[in-house]
C-alpha cells in the first residue's frame, strides 16, 4: 500500500518522506548493541528500535555517572603535584 506524501495533519516536516525516516531509524538501529546482535530476524519494528534506543541512552548516562563518582574518589586519593600524577599525564598524552 503506497501512502501519499502529504499527511492528513499539517506538520512542519511533512516534506520528509516515510522512506527517509525509515532510513534514519535503520541507521539508528545499527548503533544499538542489543538489536545489532539480534541475527535471527533481519527486520525489527520501528517502535522496538526507538524503545531500545531510549533504554541504551539511559544506560550509557547512568554508566557515565557511576564512572564520574568513581573518578572523583580516585582523584582525591592522588595528589596532583605528586610524581604519580605526572606519570599519569605523560601516559595519557604520550
Amino acid at each position: 500500500m503506497s501512502s501519499s506524501r502529504r499527511s492528513r495533519q499539517a506538520s512542519s516536516s511533512s516534506r520528509i518522506s516515510d522512506d527517509q525516516i525509515t532510513d534514519l531509524i535503520s541507521k539508528l538501529r545499527q548503533s544499538i548493541p542489543e538489536i545489532r546482535q539480534n541475527r535471527r530476524s533481519n527486520t525489527v519494528s520501528a517502535s522496538k528500535v526507538l524503545q531500545e534506543t531510549c533504554n541504551y541512552i539511559r544506560n550509557l548516562n547512568k554508566e557515565a555517572d557511576d564512572l564520574s563518582d568513581r573518578l572523583t574518589q580516585l582523584l582525591e586519593s592522588i595528589d596532583p603535584n605528586s610524581p604519580q600524577a605526572a606519570v599519569i599525564r605523560s601516559l595519557i598524552n604520550g
Binding site: Q9, I16, D23, S47, C54, I57, L60, E63
Partner: protein, 221 residues
Amino acid sequence: MASLISDIEPPTSTTSDLVRRKKRSSASSAASSRSSASSVSGEIHARWRSEKQQRIYSAKLFQALQQVRLNSSASTSSSPTAQKRGKAVREAADRALAVSARGRTLWSRAILANRIKLKFRKQRRPRATMAIPAMTTVVSSSSNRSRKRRVSVLRLNKKSIPDVNRKVRVLGRLVPGCGKQSVPVILEEATDYIQALEMQVRAMNSLVQLLSSYGSAPPPI
C-alpha cells in the same frame, strides 16, 4: 502485520535521500548548521570510534577533571559533598565531549550553551512506556489529534503511529537540545550522541583503571 525495517537498501538512493533531506531541513530551520555533506556526516560518525580521537578525548577529559578538582578545592575550605563533586566531574566530561564534537551537532551545542545542568538532568527522568492494544491505540490517536503536534507523522504502521511518535518524543528528551526537534533531526542526533557517549564511557573506564593501578600500589621505581 507489524511494520518492519529491513537492512536491504541501495546505498546510492540512501546518499541521494540524505542530500535531499539535508537541504530541506536547512531551508526550513533557516540555519546553516547542517551544510556538511552526507560523506562528511559518515566521517563524523566514524570519528567517535577511532583510536586517535579516543586518545585526544582522554587527554581533554583528564585536564578537565584536574580543573574541576582545583576549582572545588579553591572555592570552599570545607570540602563539598561527594555527590556534588561527582556531578561536577560528569559535567566536565560532557563539556569535553561537546568540545570534541566541535559544535557540529545540536546536542554538543546544547551542552556548551547550557551552563545550568539541572534542566538537563530533570529531562532525563525515565517514563514507563506500556504496550498499547489496538483499541487503546485508536483512542490515543484521537486524543493526540486535539493537541498541537510538532512531530511529523510516521506511517510505517497505522496502529503504531502514536506509539512511534511518543517514543521519538521520549528519545528527543534524552538527547540534549532535541526536545522540540522534528523526527529526522532527533533520529540523526541520537545516532551521533550514542556513539559519543560510548566513547566517553570508554575513556572514563580507561582513566579509572589507570588511576586505580597507580593509587593502590606505590610506584615501582
